[in-house]
């Protein structure tokens, strides 16, 4: 299979020399993210995240299923990720590589295991019916920071998603179509944001949001997931260069600031999108408000 192109020796020495002088080849400061572009689809639950040349799409969908027998009061939430040849020809379709397993585990831990989505609110009839929320993550272009971008995409898509309203009369469950009743948003408990640090030069230089080239040259990396309340959801530093504890703690503090910034951008874009929708579907939305009041 074609391998990812390694940086040449010239590129390598150029990038590392520059980092030694605290410079990055795209002119960013060491602790600055690339510009985050977030857009939503016409449907609910489609988020398109661009971080420089990295592009990740998350699509959330819902269907009614039977809950797991050991968890009758909870809905089901799954996240699927698949690295295809679209992101890079090095990724073969249909075969899971180690990188892919690590990536999906990381996103799983960051979002699902930290209970970002309240699965109990997805229960319709205990033990009988519940919502299954499915987030499909598509990697469209790979230029580093896949974890960070996909985490943003998933949390944005989850917040953007609306599921059909349900009413229960005795044993009878009615699922109302989107036009019949205003669809309801999911209950999101917190918004986890992943920040990946890349370490160079024996830990003296640490970057956030590394590009693919920077990722290929790094000596070690660490992904910290936290929300704006300062709750750590997950830390993954799996080997790589050994780093001083104080540097790691400093990284955690930087991550907290970044998580706040990113969550704010996501929030702002969601509000902008909601405003556009209200204008476009004026009638429908205003009716809903009246009903609730």
């Amino acid at each position: 299979m074609p391998r990812e192109l390694d940086p040449t020796i010239n590129e390598k020495s150029f990038i590392l020399d520059a980092l030694n002088q605290k410079l990055r080849i795209d002119g960013r400061d060491l602790d600055v993210f690339r510009e985050l572009e977030l857009s939503f689809g016409d449907d609910y639950g489609l988020a398109d995240v661009r971080l420089g040349k990295t592009r990740v799409l998350a699509r959330v969908s819902a269907e009614v299923v039977k809950p797991f027998t050991d968890r009758p009061f909870e809905g089901i939430f799954t996240i699927t990720t698949e690295l295809g040849p679209m992101a890079s020809p090095a990724f073969e379709p249909g075969r899971q590589t180690e990188q892919e397993v690590l990536l999906s585990r990381l996103i799983e831990k960051a979002i699902r295991r930290s209970n970002a989505l309240d699965t109990e609110s997805l229960c319709i009839v205990a033990g009988q019916k519940c919502w299954q929320i499915r987030a499909d993550v598509h990697f469209l272009s790979h230029d580093g920071a896949l974890v960070d971008a996909s985490c943003i995409a998933v949390v944005a898509a989850l917040q953007h998603f609306r599921r059909p309203d349900v009413s229960i009369e005795g044993e009878k469950v009615t699922i109302h179509t989107m036009t019949e009743r205003v669809p309801v948003p999911l209950s999101i408990l917190h918004v986890p944001i992943c920040v990946t640090f890349s370490f160079y030069l024996d830990g003296e230089v640490c970057l956030v949001d590394a590009t693919l080239q920077e990722e290929q040259l790094r000596q070690g990396d660490m992904t910290i997931t936290l929300n704006k309340f300062g709750e750590l959801c997950q830390i993954a530093k799996a080997g790589g260069l050994a780093i001083n504890a104080l540097i790691l703690l400093r990284c955690a503090k930087i991550a907290l600031v970044k998580a706040g910034e990113i969550a704010a951008i996501v929030q702002r874009r969601l509000e902008e999108d909601a405003a556009v929708r209200v204008r476009r579907d004026n009638l429908l939305e205003s009716k809903a408000d009246n009903e609730r009041a």
Binding site: E98, V101, S114, G230, E231, K237, G239, L241, A245, L256
Partner: protein
């Protein structure tokens, strides 16, 4: 919270330890002759056996790197190791993640550059699970690598730390989690390299306040230093024994 108290008002944990006490840690070196290096570690009720083969000719062409040795890790949970008898397949994502974490941890500590185009294979079998599994695997692998004589810069040692919330909302780090504590408390697994306390592996999988991280890491680093002493003693004892037997 659970039925029993994780930390009693007297400051004792369920198994009678204080907050900074580790369970009994008994490392054994060179337990089998079939591999180049081997070890067996009992950490409380967690038991791990490890064997190392290498540097050897790579078994798969994907493990051949013309610049350095490749480290491959196999982790195998015995079906009888947990409370429920269940088989964990090769494809289990958690196992794959552990293997990759171990391989990357040792890749940065072993002098892989000395053995290009070869493979160092670490095989870990978990015979009994009672918390701190990944940490015990790291310790067992370190000891087996020393036994195998694979060139490395220093000991890699690991331990776990939990964060306990007192009834008055203050927090207390607890060194070395057993499985009951692992179920109920958030905690980190942390591995340090050598004496200068640099951290090569840090894992957290449950939600915890950011402010608590520092305290947990400080306790964890001390714990790793302690384990380092214990491993070092095991290595020296083994060396002396070998000398006494006339092997050297």
């Amino acid at each position: 919270m659970s039925r029993y108290e994780i930390l009693s008002p007297e400051g004792l944990r369920t198994d009678g330890r204080r907050w900074n006490e580790m369970r009994r840690f008994s490392p054994k070196m060179a337990t089998t002759t079939a591999a180049d290096g081997s070890s067996y570690i009992e950490h409380g009720n967690t038991k791990v056996i490890c064997s190392v083969n290498g540097p050897i000719e790579p078994r798969a062409s994907s493990a051949r790197n013309s610049e350095r040795a490749t480290i491959t890790v196999d982790v195998c949970f015995a079906a009888f190791s947990g409370t429920d008898r269940k088989k964990r397949g090769k494809g289990d994502k958690r196992v794959l993640e552990m293997q990759s974490a171990l391989s990357r941890t040792f890749a940065s500590t072993l002098l892989t550059i000395l053995h290009p185009r070869s493979e160092v294979h670490i095989s870990l079998h978990i015979l009994s699970q009672d918390g701190s599994i990944l940490a015990t695997c790291v310790n067992a692998a370190t000891l087996a690598l020393v036994d195998a004589g694979v060139p490395m810069t220093d000991y890699v040692t690991a331990c776990t730390v939990a964060s306990y919330t007192n009834p008055d909302e203050s927090d207390e780090p607890l060194l070395d989690m057993n499985s009951a504590e692992e179920m109920d408390l958030p905690g980190i697994t942390l591995a340090t390299v050598g004496r200068n306390d640099k951290i090569s592996l840090l894992q957290l999988e449950t939600k915890v306040r950011l402010e608590r991280l520092e305290g947990m890491m400080a306790v964890g680093i001390d714990g790793c230093a302690k384990i380092r002493q214990l491993l070092d003693r095991a290595v020296r004892d083994h060396g002396n024994e070998m000398a006494r037997m006339g092997a050297l």
